[in-house]
């Protein structure tokens, strides 16, 4: 018990826990829209592009002689991620290139650009490790404020415009026929995804950022029937795995980002395994009791081939 108290009063842990908590809530909110739009891999694409932004910020910082030289890394990531997400949305809209091809090109370009630029900035690929896999233990107070501001913005838009974002993610054609600003709403989702990637970068790292957006949603949709509840369950799971994962790393020296993602996938595996058992416990109801039977079938076995015979004129 005293160990727990020690952890909570540790200022490093306090800052890290606040960041993990906020990211745990907001990432699945955005992830729910991405899954519904069938763009589950968008977060990965943006994450890779953000790496180029990190390196670019580093390069600019080094050129300007700023100390420490990665002070512009996070702003660089924000700019690159937003630019990348807007680019993906434009490409998707034009329909010239299929969405996944555009994403693939961004993946490669983002990583290659990042490694190339960090070399020019006088660093090594090793300098990128903290961004690739997270470095939550080194969160500063100003980092926490940036996280609070960005997560606040993500939740404000993501929850405040839920009905409109749902409409456009669920059925873009209908949204268009309702005169909704479909382009702006799609852009909003893309920019939200970009902001989520940059805030989650600190917690789980760019390579695992998408997992935090998508895996909780995968868990949520296993256990609910509604969009709203899927989002709620996903956020609860997000917070739970982030805080639990981070707390474990206080006592055991493992990578927090990797642990959080492994925990999330573990929860998914358990829920998926239990799902058929739980579903079976519900009463087996006829899903369409009001639909009259279309063919008369003889009881058990004998009637196997009968419907087809009756079909033939």
């Amino acid at each position: 018990m005293s160990g727990l108290w020690e952890m909570i009063t540790d200022p490093f842990m306090q800052r890290a826990l606040v960041a993990a908590l906020l990211v745990g809530v907001s990432a699945p909110v955005v992830g729910t829209y991405l899954v519904q739009k069938r763009l589950a891999l968008l977060g990965d694409g943006i994450g890779h592009v953000a790496l180029t932004g990190v390196a670019l910020g580093w390069l600019v910082g080094a050129a300007m002689g700023l100390v420490p030289d990665d002070v512009l890394a996070v702003p660089g990531a924000v700019v690159a991620a937003v630019a990348g997400s807007v680019l993906i949305e434009v490409v998707r809209r034009r329909g010239r290139t299929s969405g996944d091809l555009a994403l693939a090109i961004l993946f490669y370009g983002g990583i290659a650009g990042g490694v190339l630029l960090i070399g020019l900035a006088g660093g090594s690929s090793g300098s990128l490790m903290a961004y690739l896999f997270g470095s939550i233990s080194s969160v500063t107070l100003s980092d926490v404020w940036v996280t609070v501001a960005l997560c606040g913005l993500i939740l404000l838009i993501g929850l405040g415009l839920r009905a409109a974002l749902f409409s456009v993610s669920h059925d873009e054609e209908f949204a268009q026929s309702s005169g909704l600003p479909v382009w702006a709403l799609n852009m909003a989702v893309a920019v939200l995804a970009a902001l989520t990637v940059t805030v989650a970068m600190r917690v789980v790292g760019l390579l695992l950022v998408s997992a935090l957006m998508i895996v909780p949603v995968a868990i949520g949709q296993l256990v609910t029937r509604s969009f709203r509840r899927t989002m709620l369950v996903a956020s609860v799971v997000g917070v739970a795995v982030c805080v639990t994962g981070l707390s474990i790393t206080y006592w055991h020296n493992v990578s927090p980002g990797a642990l959080i993602v492994v925990l999330a996938i573990g929860v998914y595996a358990v829920v998926a395994a239990l799902h058929p058992v739980l579903a079976r416990r519900q009463a087996p109801v006829d899903p369409h009791p009001d639909i009259p039977d279309d063919v008369a079938v003889s009881p058990a076995g004998a009637g196997r081939a009968a419907p087809q015979e009756e079909c033939t004129p």
Binding site: S167, F174, S177, S178, Q221, P287, E310
Partner: protein, 290 residues
């Protein structure tokens, strides 16, 4: 905003629309290209207030493209479309237009309840948030299509016909004056077809203007006042319901839909559309949620 008293079927006379002389739909010389191919080649179409117009034509004649253009989903290459006297765009009073797209059977990535889907119909134009009392409005719309008891079901748990009715409720929830439907009864189970015809009868009695894409008039025949027939992207008939080509109009003719039941497409000879248990291509079996 003028709304129709769709919720009170017994009402004596609906309030006359403010701008009753302006046609609900006015399309002039509409050309639409999809990719390299011209799909619509100079279509003129006017739908006046209170009219029920059926849009007929063979597969590939451009029916769906036309209605999707009319509601602003597809851009025109040339020509003009006015809804309630306003050129397509931000000026159109979108709350007065309800659109029912062709049912897409593929379930979305995240489960959503019937009520959630219907609620999205309350958003239009610059209204990006649900209005107060949206739950009651959603309930009312679902009641109108006979699905009030399914509000909290996930859409993928519903039958194809019920899913179609959810889409109709989504268009009706904003109490539109113009309803545009794209093949609302294609591959839909019987109870849903009957519920649909009953709903339409009530709406038309209340003064709803309707443009509906159909393969055959079917149960809607008594309601339809005018038929527009498209062929190769042009209007070839505009007037009374036309006589079908021999072998194309009867109950025994099997229409092949791009989204029909797979069995119907692969083995059309297996399905005889006559009286009795097989009188409709029935898709009740592919929609039971796993």
């Amino acid at each position: 905003m003028t709304t129709l008293a769709t919720d009170s079927p017994g009402a004596a006379t609906p309030p006359p629309p403010r701008d009753a002389a302006v046609p609900a739909i006015e399309a002039r010389d509409v050309h639409v290209r999809l990719g390299a191919s011209p799909v619509l080649r100079g279509v003129d179409l006017t739908v006046r207030r209170g009219e029920v117009v059926a849009l007929l034509g063979a597969n590939g004649s451009g029916k769906s493209t036309l209605v999707r253009t009319l509601v602003g989903v597809l851009p025109t290459t040339a020509g003009s479309v006015h809804l309630f006297g306003h050129a397509l765009g931000d000026d159109v009073p979108w709350s007065r237009v309800g659109y029912v797209p062709q049912r897409v059977s593929a379930a979305a990535g995240v489960p959503s309840t019937a009520a959630e889907v219907v609620a999205s119909g309350l958003l239009h134009g610059r209204r990006l948030r649900l209005p107060r009392g949206w739950r009651a409005q959603v309930h009312e719309a679902l009641e109108l299509v006979g699905l009030a008891d399914r509000a909290r079901y996930a859409t993928h748990q519903l039958s194809g016909g019920q899913q179609q009715r959810v889409l109709i409720a989504r268009a009706l929830v904003r109490k539109p004056e113009l309803l545009v439907l794209d093949e609302p009864v294609a591959g839909v189970d019987r109870p849903s077809q009957e519920a649909f015809a009953a709903t339409m009868t009530r709406l038309v009695a209340d003064g709803m203007t309707v443009l509906v894409v159909l393969h055959e008039l079917g149960e809607l025949a008594p309601l339809v006042q005018r038929c527009v027939v498209l062929r190769h992207g042009r209007v070839v008939h505009d007037g009374a319901p036309p006589t079908p080509q021999p072998g194309h109009g009867g109950e025994a003719h099997d229409h092949v839909h791009p989204h029909a039941h797979p069995r119907t497409v692969q083995h059309p000879e297996n399905v005889r559309l006559a009286e009795g248990p097989f009188d409709r291509p029935d898709d009740t079996e592919d929609e039971v949620a796993p």
